[in-house]
Amino acid sequence: MIVGERKPMQEILDMIADHKKIFIAGCGTCVAVCMAGGDKEVSILSSAIKMARNKENKPIEILEQTPLRQCEWEFVDELKDKIEACEAVLSMACGIGVQTLVERFPKVIVYPAVNTTFLGLPEEQGVWSERCGACGNCVLDKTGGICPIVRCSKSLLNGPCGGSQDGKCEVDPEVDCAWQLIYDRLKTLGKLDDLTEILPPKDWSTGRDGGPRKIVREDMKL
């Protein structure tokens, strides 16, 4: 899922400083699950903004709603009335949600209240970590099912660098060395020989480096 984190309050307050009535739109899918932009976070942000603005003697009126998904026309259309009733929208969805609103309501100002951080999973309650870089050219079959593209700080494809120590990455002692994980897993699977193969330079053109991406499925089009 997409994992995000609320922006610092001051940054949000600065964005909306000139507005007197805004609409905070949450999203009920990924960012709700990672507790960054679901209905609970919308109500808390709303309350905090109101208090901050009261303190400045510049009260603000805030409408709130959290559609099931902010990245689908069908769900964002439900927001039309509230959007039109306000001067601007503060979106607590990921960057996709923000842009869905922008595209659907071209005349409306939409601000992001959340930093879209990564594609990952909740490791445990309250802890999320990155798993996929959406490189468009999956290598998990060659690396024991562990992604070196995003889980290795240097995206190495042919084994760990010299900074792997005690199973941790030199960049951050809290982060596992992806190549240690890959090595351990391939060892368990009895497939260490896989690591002697030299993986050639990766074709990054399927990733962001190839420019904005698009998938068209003729069989699915209406």
Binding site: K154, L156, N158, G159, P160, G162, S164, Q180, L199, P201
Partner: protein, 305 residues
């Protein structure tokens, strides 16, 4: 001869090689480069020029290397994957070769987090092994990475680094084997303080016969103080400084610390020289280049061939 470099000649002739390391300045000062280079002249067969080591902006390795070459000191250009994609790397290598650079060390590169621009974007289009293969293909197949032909190809003596002390330990030799397969001619190791562990690693190297395929230069570095020893032991990932070394530095006291650091370095050179498969030493005395002549002399490695 693959490159015709001095280093290649010395190693192929079976001499025990000595390489040193030179960190270019964080400025345009050519003087600093020449001064450091002159101290190394006649004491090292070739000199590594670091490529923005620890991700700190410094004068370009190729530029400084070319300056060295102009004074008759052979450079080993270091090239990392951190700052350049395959286009920039190949372009720079064409330029380096045209400037007369003959030795190249292929590195992954330190992460920018440790440098002076931790907010920068990194590249890592290639990893060090892919870089090695690319350079070898440029030389031996006359081909760019994309497969296009190079009319006049670069001739590098290709090196790599390897760290016998980082983990997973068992994979370290396999990784060297991968680099050999990718096309290196020589390897310089991470600084050796733990000779015992290094010997064990060399044993594994010999089991795979890698010492017969590439020249292995053991990395050494003189310690300056007990504090430095402790810092490296505890804070530098991939560095293995045994307690007895820290103790020797501590016992020596502040005044004699540098002297003891040199003694330890010479002891280690003496020991690694005796290990089968070790073809030379690489002395890393960054910002202490002037000590290299003393070490080379006391280790009995003079005169250079």
């Amino acid at each position: 001869m693959k490159s015709g470099s001095n280093l290649e000649k010395i190693l192929c002739a079976g001499h025990f090689a000595v390489t040193a390391e030179l960190g270019p300045p964080k400025s345009v000062s050519a003087e600093v480069v020449y001064k450091k280079a002159e101290t190394l002249k006649g004491y090292a067969d070739a000199v590594n020029i670091t490529d923005c080591q620890t991700a700190i902006v410094r004068m370009s390795s190729i530029a400084a290397g070319s300056m060295l070459a102009s004074r008759g000191i052979e450079p080993i250009i270091q090239m990392t994957c951190r700052d350049r994609n395959r286009i920039a790397i190949q372009s720079d290598l064409l330029g380096a070769s045209a400037l007369g650079v003959k030795n190249l060390l292929c590195l992954t590169g330190d992460h920018q987090k440790f440098g002076n621009h931790p907010q920068s974007k990194n590249v890592f289009d290639l990893d060090s092994i892919q870089l090695i293969k690319m350079v070898k293909d440029m030389r031996d197949e006359k081909k760019f990475q994309c497969g296009e032909e190079i009319k006049v190809e670069p001739h590098f003596f290709i090196g790599a680094a390897e760290n016998p002390f980082s983990e997973p330990f068992e994979f370290r030799v396999l990784r060297l084997a991968k680099k050999v397969k990718a096309g290196i001619d020589f390897v310089q190791t991470q600084v050796v303080y733990n000779v015992e562990k290094f010997s064990k690693w060399m044993e594994m190297v010999r089991e795979l016969g890698l010492h017969e395929k590439v020249f292995i230069l053991a990395g050494v570095a003189p310690l300056k103080s007990a504090g430095m020893a402790k810092y490296m032991k505890n804070n530098v990932p991939g560095m293995d400084v045994p307690d007895k070394i820290v103790e020797r530095m501590t016992v020596a006291g502040k005044e004699k610390a540098k002297e003891e650091g040199v003694n330890i370095c010479i002891d280690i050179i003496d020991q690694v020289k005796e290990i089968k498969g070790v073809a030379g030493v690489h002395i890393m005395a960054i910002e202490w280049e002037e000590i290299v002549p003393e070490i080379v002399e006391k280790a009995g490695l003079l005169p250079r061939p």
